[in-house]
Structures are given as C-alpha cells and as structure tokens.
C-alpha cells in the first residue's frame, strides 16, 4: 500500500492485477501445460494413441468420475466432502437392475438411477446438516451402508438384460466420434462453471468454505446450501451410475469400486483447496482430462491395474501437497 495520504475518500480501483497476467500464472495454466506434456508423451509412447477413435475412447476414462468431480468440487469448496459417491453408484445401479427385472423401460430406469442418487445425497446431507456430524465420518458410514445394501440385494450375482435403448447413454455417439458421454460432460461442466462462478449461490459456497460463522452472520443459510450440495453430489453420482451401467451393460455390487478416491484426486488436482474456500471448475475439468490421459496412457502401455492404483494414490498425496507448496512460492514472490 502506498503511503501517500490523499484527501478524504479517495478512489479505490476495482482491481490492480491485469486479469490476463494473473490468469497466466494460475494453477489452471500449469494444468494445461501438464496436460499437453502428457499428451505428447502418450503420442510418443504409443503409435495407437494419436487417432480420433483412441482419443474418443480416452474420454470414457474420466467422464463418469469427472461428472461427480464437478459437484464434489462445490462440496469441498464449501468445506465438506462425500466419500460415498462410488457406493451411491453401486446402489443406484443395483436398484436399476432390480427395476429391469421388474420390466421397467429406459426412461423409468434413468429416473430411478437419478432418483436413488439424489435420495442418497439427501440422506448424507440430512445427517450432516441436521445432526451436525462431520461429513467425512457420515460418508464413510454411508459408503459401507450403500454398498452393503447393494451386496445384500445382489450377492455374487449380476444383473443383465438392460434394454437396447438404455445402451445409448454409455455407448452411443452423437456424431462421428463424439460420444453422448463427452457431450453431457461438456454441458455439465458449463452449467457447474456458471453455478459456481457466476451466481450468488456459488458466491455463498465460497463464503461458507472460508468462514461459515461470518457467512451465517451475513444471512447466508449455511445448512440449506450444504444440504443442496450433498443432494447435487448424490444426483451426479446417480448420473454417473446411469452412464456406467449403460456402458457396462450389467450391474455387479463391486461396480465403481474406488471411484471416490479418483474423484477426490481430480478435485484436488484441479486446484480446489482440500480445506475449502477456493477452487475453480476450469481446474477440475483440466484435472479430469489429465487423469483420463494418464490412465489411458498407462493402459496403452499395458501397465497392470495395481500399478495404476499405486499411481493414483501417489498422485492424490502429491496434489494435496503441491498446491500448498505452490501457494507458498507465490506468497514469497508476492512479499
């Protein structure tokens, strides 16, 4: 701050930084560079990579998780978390499978899939906001609960026999190599970007994540917004469940095992603070693409699944540590 004392009521500018300049040094820029680097590495490592169909296949690696990550980002920014999303996929898929046996057709299946997701999210939200329980504990509990129910219903069986029209969501193409999944992801990403960065709802999400007490004093209905975010996350898990079930064409209780970690890794890699209060949808989308590129690349190189799992674990730890180091570096530069 300058020490020149002007007369009273001097003008305060809206912003000082050139927005272009601050965009250039943002976490998102770094993510773009990383994505380009991995893309280049993939093309060098495998002759099969640089091909329209390969690239289209690649999107299936991250879209389902990415959709959940969009909602999870808002939840984590608001200072909460949902570890039960993969279990919600399993329960939702199982109930859809039951509905198939009862003769329900595609529109009904989709409604059921989304409805179960929404209900599970609402259940999490009620436990967190009405009983004041920490979400990490609540959703560890419901993670076992939801998947447990799926196991009770299915045992070691699998549901098959989904109607042919149901396959469109996970396997259909809108045009040439452009799948329904990627189109949905792009639309959803735009919607979530708008919700978080352009609406008063999104602003309140940031306020809650930074200081829930002051937000309450400012008339923000903290509990209500948190409840909505849990519902939204559950709903997106429901959407993911429809896509995944449609893509696989069958339901097993072990479906989407371990997805929650990959979703959270995406969110954190995307620059969302695990402590809440900051983050962007652009970052999360980029992180989803990076995760897709990495797993697809490792797949092309025939890296076994267990190594991928180690890799995801390492990535999660790294990305939680990295933003902190990055911020420290920036603070030192700013000081």
């Amino acid at each position: 701050m300058s020490t020149t004392e002007l007369a009273h009521n001097r003008h305060i500018p809206d912003r000082l930084d050139n927005p272009l300049r601050s965009a250039l040094f943002s976490w998102e820029t770094l993510l773009i560079l990383v994505a380009v680097a991995i893309f280049a590495l993939n093309s060098l490592a495998s002759p099969y990579f640089l091909n329209a169909w390969s690239l289209s296949d690649l999107t299936f690696n991250f879209v389902e998780k990415g959709l959940i990550a969009l909602a999870m980002a808002l939840l984590i920014i608001a200072g909460e978390i949902d570890l039960s999303v993969a279990a919600i996929i399993a329960l939702s898929s199982t109930i859809m499978g039951m509905a198939v046996q009862a003769g329900v057709d595609t529109p009904g299946l989709v409604l059921i899939g989304l409805g179960v997701g929404l209900a599970c999210g609402a259940f999490n939200g009620l436990l967190v906001t009405k009983l004041g329980l920490p979400s990490i504990v609540v959703t560890i509990g419901t993670m076992s609960l939801f998947r447990g129910i799926a196991y009770i219903i299915l045992g070691d069986q699998a549901y098959r026999g989904y109607p042919a029209s149901f396959a469109f969501f996970g396997q259909g193409y809108v045009w040439w190599v452009i799948s329904f999944e990627i189109v949905l992801f792009v639309i959803m990403a735009l919607l979530f970007w708008f919700l978080l960065h352009r609406t008063s709802f999104g602003r309140m999400v940031f306020a809650i994540g930074n200081n829930p007490v002051a937000a309450t004093f400012s008339g923000v209905r903290v509990e209500r917004i948190k409840f909505i975010l849990f519902c939204l996350t559950g709903l997106m898990a429901g959407v993911a469940s429809v896509l995944l079930t449609s893509r696989l064409g069958s339901t097993r209780p072990s479906i989407a095992q371990g997805y929650e970690l990959e979703v959270i890794t995406m969110v954190v890699l995307g620059g969302v603070s695990i402590l809440g209060g900051s983050g962007s949808i652009a970052g999360v989308v980029l992180a989803a693409i990076i995760m897709g590129l990495v797993t697809f690349g490792l797949g092309l190189l025939n890296v076994p699944g267990i190594v991928m799992s180690i890799f995801i674990g390492l990535l999660l730890i790294t990305v939680i540590a990295l933003p902190i180091l990055w911020r420290r570096l920036r603070e030192r530069q700013g000081a």
């Binding site: 701050m1 300058s2 009273h8 009521n9 001097r10 003008h11 305060i12 500018p13 809206d14 912003r15 000082l16 930084d17 352009r198 609406t199 008063s200 709802f201 602003r203 309140m204 940031f206 306020a207 994540g209 930074n210 200081n211 007490v213 002051a214 937000a215 309450t216 004093f217 400012s218 008339g219 923000v220 209905r221 209060g277 900051s278």
Partner: protein
C-alpha cells in the same frame, strides 16, 4: 532507559533499586499493514509487580507473545539478569523460567490438575515412565505452599472454575521454578472474592521474589497490587515509573495522549419516534426480561461488564439465537425472525464483536465481503452482476475512507481497522433502519476509531438508528444519546446521557450501591 527518580525511603525494605530481572529494549514488531510495536522497552524487577497499561490495540498482547516466545521481534533485545537471551520458541521461554497466565487459561481441560502442573517436566521413574505417585505428591505440595490445598491434584481441570484454573496455572509456574510470571488480564472473568484470592496469591509470588507483569484494564486493581507501571500507546512505550506518587489522571493522560472528550464528533441529534421496541425478551440462560426502545436518529449505548449478556442479547435481536419469551418489533411490526437472513430483510443489521470470526470472510476479496448480505440486490435471478457488486462495494468503502489498494484485494491483507471498515460497509450496504454495532472499535488503531466514530455520527444525522455495545467508557459517554446499563443478563438502568459520569456507570454495571 529513563526511570522516574524515586526517593529511597518510599520503597519497601526488600525492594532495593535492584537491576531488572527481565528487560526488553528497542523491541519492534510489524504485521502486514500495521506496526504493532515500535521500539518499546519494559523492565521487570524481582519481588515487584509491574503493571502494563494501555488501551485495546496498544500492543500489550503482542509484547506478551514476544515475551513467551510465540512471536519473534523484528528488532530489539531481551535480557534476563542482564544477560541477552533469545526466545525462538515457546519452549525457550519455559527454559528461561518465564511463565504466563492468560485471561482464559491455556491449560488442558481434560488432564488432571497434577498433569497440568507438571506437563513437560513430570517426575520420572527409573524406567523413564511418569512417576504418578510422586507427581501427585509434588502437586499437592505446590498447591499447599500457595494456600490452595482445597484443590485435589486428581481433579480434571474441566471441573474447576476459572479462579481455580488460575491457581493451577500459578502452581505450574511455581513447579517450573519460574522467575518471571506474566499475568494477562487474569481478573477479567473473576468475581470480586476470587480477585481478592488472586491478589493474595500475587503477594505470595512477590514474597518468593518473582518478577511479575500484571496486565489489567482496571485501575483499582492496578493500584491495589502493582508497584510499578509501564504505559503503552499505539505500540509505543510512553511512560514508566513507580505507581506510588503517580495519579490515575496522569496515567490516563499517558494512555490516551490527549484529552478524551476531543476525539468524539460533535453531534446535534434530532431524535424521533420509537423505531425498534424490545419487550420482555428473555433467553433461558443469557438474559432475562429485556425491554427497551430505540428511537429514530438515536445512538443507544449499551454498557456493562464482560458477561453482562449484551452481545447475547444483540445476537438474539439479530436472529442468530432463539429466545424463550418476548417480542421485537420494528416500526410497529413484530419481527418473527428465524435467521440472520430474516433480520437483514427486516432492516436490522448486526455488526458482530468478533471481527475475525464473525465479521469478515478472509479469503474473499473486499467487494465480495461487502456484497455478501446484499447478494439479492447485486444479482438478477441469482446471476451475479459484477459491475453492480463493485459499485455497491465502492460506494460504502470509500465513504468509510477504506485504505486498500483495490477492491479485489483479499480482505485478510488489510489491517484490523480497515477490516472493521469493510465489515461496517457490508452492513450499511444492506440499507438497514437499525444498525447494531457490537464493540465497533475494539482492537483497532486510534485513526480508524475516529473514522468509525465520525461515521456513526453521520449515519444518525441521516436518520439511521444505532445501538452501540461498548465496554469502553469514553466511547459510551462520548457517543451515546442514552445509555442502557446491563448486569448479569438484566437491564439495571436506562439513562439520558446528560451529566452522566463514568463512575455512575461503573457502579451500576458492577452493582455497587452509590
């Protein structure tokens, strides 16, 4: 360093004009945007109590944190018995025998009394394990030596009252053989009887030749227990010497540095009809049977001691807490508010006392802080209109003479006084009819204080009505049209601020008969 010359015969026999046990000199400490301490000095003498006196924000707490190794000074020297030391961590203060007793004791509620006393230096058995029986025995001995044998070493600390917790803290100081004891507003939460007991304890510590620093806002206590004084103002040391022979007026003058009544704006209130009526408002535990009226264009001061229930009452009016009984009405219409959002919509704004926790959202830029309770007005169908947000923020922050480099600056990078301006701007932006300011100038620098006071005067001149909760008498007397005095959750008096004096208010607040 200058000392007031003292005639030798004034001093008690055992307090020779000794060299200081502990001395700080040339200590400076800055935080982003504010210089908390500027080349201050402080000396503590064995067997003597030195009172550290200063208004809120004078730098007392910062100095205590430096003395206990929590903060590092930017410059300056610390010496114990004339030898320079450095206190790079809380542990090093412990090693040098410096022990602090805080306003709200920083002990461990879930550990026993004995564990609290000996934490970090517990007696060990041959095998390196804690020697529990010896620890208990030693704890009992320490407590007995202090005349606190009524405390059982096995009690969990949680079960003790604040006065007894202080005793345990002193016991801890004794057990590490502390030679320097810092007491930071130890009496703030104590009853009169407990304060007497604490003073007996301080006398005991004096007799043990400890050097004691005593921080308090209460002059009667300072004169009762302290031998020396050091006065801070706005981060500078402005005077020190022996208390005997120094009048209260002289010290007050050093504290404020100017005649108190000059810093408040002159007002010509035009007070209208009753606007806010509170009737028999009660809360199960915090306050009872509260009835008062706030008139249009009025500043209504709420005075009382800490714990009188003023903030709790205001938070209830603001819709933050539920009440058990009573009504609140604005402009004749009853407000049935279930949340802060309802109250804001009705036209009541509450600027909370704890700025950092309840007021600002650190991490968000200034303009987003200002617009937070007014988002309905800066958005259309829930979609933010950035330009109108900036406009709103600019209108109110510039009026409050906010010192910031841009409205997109994180509010956390501002000084306390400027943060408070952002908080007030935020509430004014809701266009309230009534604004409740809870300790509006607590912990902010003199310049910001004057700005806030001047602004309050402007607001009421424009027809806004203000409730001001304050524990600072000059502020209450300098700003209020009428003063409500609360004690133990009840209103004990409502008076016109004409010919009202500080003494009367203090007596009413403390429940001392005139």
């Amino acid at each position: 360093m200058m000392h007031t010359t003292i005639r030798r015969e004034q001093l008690p026999e055992e307090t020779r004009q000794a060299s200081p046990r502990f001395s700080l000199s040339g200590i400076s400490k800055s935080f982003p945007g504010v210089r908390a301490l500027n080349k201050v000095a402080l000396s503590l003498y064995p067997g003597q109590v030195t009172a550290l006196i200063g208004e809120n924000g004078a730098g007392k707490s910062t100095l205590v944190k430096i003395m206990t190794g929590i903060y590092q000074p930017d410059e300056g020297e610390i010496a114990i018995d004339g030898e320079g030391v450095s206190l790079p961590a809380a542990h090093s203060a412990f090693v040098h025998g410096i022990s602090a007793i805080h306003q709200e004791t920083v002990l461990f509620d879930d550990l026993s009394v004995a564990e609290n006393i000996f934490l970090g230096h517990a007696p060990r058995t041959r095998f390196g394990l804690i020697d529990w029986s010896r620890m208990r025995r030693d704890a009992r001995e320490v407590l007995e030596a202090m005349g606190a044998s009524h405390i059982d070493p096995d009690t969990r600390l949680r079960e003790l009252g604040i006065a007894n917790k202080h005793l345990v803290a002193v016991g801890r100081a004794m057990s590490i053989d502390a030679r320097i004891v810092i007491m930071d507003e130890p009496t703030a939460a104590l009853s009169a009887k407990e304060i007497e007991e604490l003073f007996l304890l301080i006398e005991f510590l004096k007799s043990q030749d400890k050097a004691i620093l005593f921080i308090s806002h209460k002059f009667d206590e300072i004169y009762r227990i302290a031998d020396r004084y050091t006065v801070f103002r706005d981060g500078e040391m402005v005077g020190e010497g022996m208390l005997a022979g120094t009048s209260q007026n002289e010290i007050v003058k050093m504290m404020v540095g100017r005649a108190v009544d000059h810093i408040f704006p002159e007002r010509h209130p035009t007070i209208g009809a009753p606007l806010l009526s509170v009737s028999t408002l009660s809360h199960p535990t915090e306050f009872d049977d509260i009835s008062f009226e706030l008139r249009k264009g009025e500043i209504l001061g709420f005075y009382g001691l800490v714990g009188a229930g003023r903030s709790e009452l205001m938070q209830a009016i603001a819709g933050m807490t539920r009440t058990s009984k009573g009504t609140i009405s604005l402009d004749g219409k009853a407000i049935a508010s279930r949340s802060a959002a309802d109250t804001v919509a009705a036209g009541i704004a509450y600027v909370p006392e704890e700025r950092g926790r309840q007021g600002v959202v650190i991490g968000l830029p200034i303009f987003q802080n200002v617009s937070l309770p007014s988002l309905k007005r800066t958005s259309e169908f829930g979609v933010l209109k950035l330009a109108s947000e900036f406009q709103l923020a600019r209108r109110y922050t510039e009026r409050l003479d906010l010192r910031a480099s841009s409205l997109s600056q994180d509010v956390g990078t501002l000084s306390g006084g400027n943060q408070q301006k952002v908080v007030i701007a935020k509430w004014l932006a809701t266009r309230p009819k009534v604004i409740i300011l809870d300790e509006p100038t607590k912990g902010i620098d003199i310049g910001s204080k004057a700005a806030v006071h001047g602004f309050m005067a402007e607001l009421v001149a424009e027809g806004l009505s203000v409730i001001m909760v304050s524990s600072e008498l000059p502020e209450i007397l300098g700003m209020s049209d009428r003063v409500v005095v609360m004690r133990e959750g009840r209103i004990v008096s409502i008076r016109e601020n004409k010919g009202l004096d500080a003494e009367t208010l203090v007596r009413l607040a403390a429940g001392i008969a005139a």
